[in-house]
C-alpha cells in the first residue's frame, strides 16, 4: 500500500466513524487530521505509519469527537431517546453516570405509566385505578384484569385522569430537566476534578 493510500484509508475510516456528526463538521475534522498527517510526515525521522500510530485507531479518534457531541447535544435536547443514549454513555464513565441512568429510567417509566393510566381510564374504568378496602390500600394498576374483588373498591374514579395526567407530565418534565442538568453538571465536574487531580500530580503524588 502506498503512503497516499494509507492516508486515504485512514481518513475514509475516520469519516465513516464520525457518521453522527453533520457533513460540515465531519469534513472539517477530516481536513484537519489530513493536514496533521501531512505536516507530521514531513518532520525528520517521521513516517506515515508512525504518524497514524500516534493518532491512534480511526474509530477511537472518532469516538472522542462523538462522545462529547452526544452529551452536549443531549444537554440541550428534550428528546427522551437522545437523553437516554447520553445517560447510557455517561453510565460507562463512572458511578455518577450509572446513578443518572437509573434515575432516568425510573423517571421516564413512572411518567409513561401515569400518562398511560390517564389514557386507559376512559376505556377500562373498572380495571384502572387505586383500590382500597376499609380505608387501607389494596392494589393499584393499569389494565388490571380481573380487578380486585369487592368489598375493595376503586376510589379515584374519573379524577384519576387529570391527576395521573398532571403527575405523569410533571414526572416526565422533571426527569428531562434533571437529566439535562446532570449532563451539564457532569461536564463541569469533569473539568473541575481534572484540574484538582492534575494539581495533585504537580504537587508530587
Amino acid at each position: 500500500m502506498t503512503q497516499e493510500m494509507q492516508i486515504e484509508s485512514y481518513l475514509t475510516a475516520l469519516r465513516y466513524h464520525l457518521g453522527p456528526l453533520t457533513i460540515g463538521e465531519r469534513e472539517e475534522i477530516v481536513l484537519e487530521i489530513s493536514a496533521h498527517i501531512r505536516d507530521s510526515a514531513e518532520e525528520p525521522g517521521a513516517s506515515i505509519a508512525s504518524v497514524l500510530a500516534g493518532l491512534g485507531p480511526a474509530d477511537k479518534l472518532a469516538a472522542q469527537y462523538r462522545d462529547g457531541l452526544l452529551i452536549r447535544q443531549a444537554s440541550r435536547s428534550i428528546s427522551p431517546l437522545l437523553l437516554l443514549r447520553a445517560t447510557l454513555r455517561l453510565a460507562t464513565k463512572g458511578i455518577f453516570g450509572i446513578f443518572v441512568f437509573c434515575c432516568a429510567i425510573l423517571g421516564y417509566s413512572s411518567g409513561v405509566v401515569l400518562v398511560f393510566a390517564a389514557l386507559a381510564k376512559p376505556f377500562f374504568p373498572a380495571n384502572t385505578g387505586l383500590w382500597l378496602q376499609d380505608g387501607r390500600f389494596v392494589d393499584s394498576g393499569v389494565l388490571h384484569f380481573p380487578p380486585p374483588a369487592p368489598p375493595s373498591h376503586e376510589v379515584l374514579g374519573m379524577w384519576l385522569i387529570p391527576l395521573a395526567l398532571t403527575l405523569g407530565s410533571l414526572t416526565l418534565l422533571l426527569t428531562t430537566w434533571a437529566i439535562r442538568a446532570s449532563l451539564r453538571l457532569s461536564q463541569r465536574l469533569q473539568s473541575k476534578l481534572c484540574i484538582s487531580a492534575a494539581a495533585s500530580v504537580k504537587a508530587g503524588i
Binding site: 493536514a35 507530521s40 487531580a197 500530580v201
Partner: protein, 129 residues
C-alpha cells in the same frame, strides 16, 4: 513534575483517575499554549512537548480543541500554507482567556496547598523507616 503520557486509548488504561487527570491537564495546557497567539494543531502539540513535559499522543488534542471551540473558548480559521494544504489555526476568545485565568489560579492555589500537605508523604526517609 511527573512526565505524563496521554494515549488515545485512555479507556484501556488501568487507572481511570490518571486518565481523567491527563485529559484535564490537556485542556488547560491547550488553552495555555494559545495565550500568546494563534497556533495550529501540530504546533500546539510541539509547543506542549517543549514547554510542559506533557508528552502527547497526537490524536488526543484534536477532540479537545474541537470541544473547546464548541464551548466558545476558542475560535478557528483556515489559513492556506506553503505546504500546499490549509491549516486550522486556533485562538483564544475572551471567554477562553477568562477561563484559563481561573484554571491557572485554581491550579496554583490547589498545588500550593497540596504541596504542604504532601511534604511528609514525600519524605523518603520517613517511607524507608
Amino acid at each position: 513534575m511527573a512526565n505524563m503520557r496521554a494515549t488515545p486509548a485512555d479507556d484501556d488504561q488501568p487507572d481511570r483517575w490518571e486518565a481523567q487527570l491527563r485529559k484535564g491537564a490537556l485542556e488547560m495546557a491547550a488553552l495555555a499554549s494559545l495565550w500568546k497567539g494563534r497556533l495550529y494543531g501540530l504546533e500546539i502539540i510541539r509547543f506542549l512537548e517543549r514547554h510542559s513535559r506533557l508528552v502527547l499522543a497526537e490524536g488526543t488534542i484534536y477532540p479537545i480543541l474541537n470541544r473547546l471551540k464548541t464551548e466558545g473558548m476558542l475560535t478557528s480559521e483556515w489559513v492556506e500554507a506553503e505546504a500546499g494544504h490549509p491549516r486550522k489555526y486556533y485562538s483564544l476568545t475572551d471567554a477562553g482567556r477568562k477561563r484559563l485565568r481561573l484554571m491557572a489560579e485554581a491550579w496554583v492555589s490547589f498545588s500550593q496547598g497540596l504541596s504542604q500537605l504532601l511534604e511528609p508523604v514525600m519524605d523518603t526517609k520517613e517511607i524507608s523507616q
